[in-house]
């Protein structure tokens, strides 16, 4: 499998898109750390970039890459190679290039300017979100037949996870504000990898003190080892489940 993904990776790295993405992240990270006097503030701004931009780029890039390599996939299918192997090679090529872009663009500046538990949590979340949204994008593009629909579907999912989901949560919290909802919101956060990442990082920051009783409860949960395992496990599920669904669809698909 590595043989093929090596070539996929090589092809991606040669195109300028991933370089532009790396440079964009790098410039933003460096300028944030340079402008803010307090590294904590810079991290907070960086957090929003990571939570919004990383999923968006991962989704759009993966979808476009999938459709652009459609004929290449066809060519590979005529070779003695199984469909699972082909799709996994494409996935690992795309995921690896996006992860390296994130590591160079955001990871390295964090390691230089603010290497603490918050910084490491941010890098971890960035990696996880990249993998999660690449998985979801692959699933969406395998499902949808044409490019426009695939990209539309991917963007819709991004909107849902990045914006709409928070609105729905607020709606629930306001409508049922008379009841104790801490446990419920904890469970609901698992249904959205972006929220999970946000809570996971926020609680490593000082700002969690401002979040009152809920914050204290979260701190208690996410600060512990089981909280770490919970986050990792849920993120892993978010990576594996869409990818598995994509593989199942891809195996039955007519190309």
């Amino acid at each position: 499998m590595m043989k093929l993904s090596k070539y996929v990776l090589y092809d991606i790295l040669r195109s300028k898109v991933i370089l532009a993405y790396t440079l964009f992240l790098f410039i933003i990270s460096i300028s944030l750390f340079r402008m803010e006097e307090n590294n904590g503030k810079a991290m907070l701004s960086l957090l929003n970039i990571v939570l919004i931009v990383v999923p968006l780029i991962s989704m759009v890039f993966s979808t476009i890459h999938y459709y652009n390599s459609y004929e290449f996939i066809e060519l590979m299918l005529a070779q003695p190679m199984s469909r699972t192997r082909i799709l996994l090679s494409e996935y690992s090529g795309v995921a690896l290039s996006l992860i390296s872009a994130f590591f160079i663009g955001v990871g390295v500046p964090i390691l230089i300017f603010s290497m603490d538990s918050t910084g490491l949590a941010m890098i971890f979340t960035g990696f996880a979100l990249t993998l999660v949204f690449t998985s979801i994008a692959f699933w969406a593009s395998v499902k949808a037949r044409d490019k426009a629909r695939g990209i539309g579907f991917a963007l819709l999912l991004w909107f849902y996870f990045a914006l709409i989901y928070d609105g729905l949560i607020l709606l629930i919290l306001f409508s049922f504000s008379d009841y104790p909802l801490e446990k419920l919101t904890l469970a609901l956060s698992a249904l959205n990898p972006v929220d999970l990442g946000r809570i996971f990082i926020m609680l490593k920051m000082d700002v969690s003190a401002l979040m009152g009783y809920t914050g204290a409860l979260y701190q208690d949960f996410f600060g512990s080892i089981s909280g770490m395992l919970f986050t990792t496990g849920i993120m892993l599920l978010w990576i594996v489940v869409p990818l598995y669904a994509a593989l199942q669809t891809f195996k039955k698909k007519d190309l």
Partner: protein, 259 residues
């Protein structure tokens, strides 16, 4: 070499393939012809495992196709439209194929690479190539691993006359090596000196599968194009042929007025 048993495939309401059975043996150049949308490419894709038929079985080298990709080691495929990673260079494409197929240097057939002079463009990225040059690359790739079965989808479309002639010579040379070659083409004059057998598909159904000599005898035409045209006309007389439809119409109107 290839045995197809009762395969059917539907795309929504369209019957792309309807109960097709055939036996394709080695040492033959079989050309698959039929109007656009008659299921030629679908049939090829079924053999390659790209399209999964709803019903029926396909055996390649007496092995049933069921998801195990190893049978494709002995098939060379030239697609209708060959598209490759934009940034990959021509030379890298060949290296990659060699690498993923685990082929040893001695087994490679570099005949077409030399005759098409592809070595001269080995360091050009795929995206800069013209359509015809891509076709040459696709053709050279299909023959590269000297497979027993060659499947060529519209091989001469887009090639200049000289390259087209080189490819035809190569096909004849491979036929002599007792290989099975399956070709689809709309350019019937190209098939005249190549094909040994003709398969005619229409609306997903197998109309006939005949030796080219038989076909020539039956129709009395030497040129394949004319022979096929004759058969098509004869068959269409049973169907809604344009002149007949025009004849029938006034009668229909009369009948409608009478009651």
């Amino acid at each position: 070499m290839i045995r197809i048993e009762n395969i059917s495939k539907k795309f929504k309401k369209l019957h792309a393939l309807d109960q097709i059975s055939m036996q394709l043996d080695s040492g033959k150049v079989i050309s698959l012809i039929g109007p656009n949308g008659s299921g030629k490419t679908t049939l090829i894709k079924c053999i390659l495992g790209m399209v999964k038929p709803a019903k029926g079985k396909i055996y390649v080298h007496e092995m049933k196709i069921n998801g195990d990709p190893s049978y494709r080691e002995r098939i060379g495929y030239m697609p209708q439209i060959g598209r490759y990673p934009d940034n990959m260079k021509v030379g890298q494409l060949f290296t990659m194929m060699k690498h993923i197929r685990n082929a040893s240097e001695n087994d490679l057939d570099t005949d077409l690479i030399i005759k098409f002079n592809l070595i001269a463009i080995f360091d050009k990225p795929m995206r800069t190539l013209s359509g015809g040059t891509r076709q040459k690359v696709s053709a050279a790739l299909a023959f590269y691993f000297s497979p027993d079965i060659l499947i060529l989808d519209e091989p001469t479309a887009g090639l200049d006359p000289l390259s087209s002639e080189i490819l035809k010579e190569k096909i004849i040379a491979e036929k002599r090596k007792n290989k099975l070659i399956l070709i689809t083409s709309h350019i019937l004059s190209d098939l005249d000196d190549l094909a040994t057998d003709i398969i005619y598909l229409q609306e997903g159904r197998l109309q006939f599968f005949k030796k080219i000599e038989t076909l020539r005898k039956e129709t009395g035409e030497v040129k394949l194009g004319k022979a096929i045209a004759k058969i098509m006309k004869n068959q269409l007389q049973r169907g809604p042929w344009v002149d007949e439809v025009l004849d029938i119409e006034p009668e229909d109107q009369d009948q409608r007025i009478k009651p």
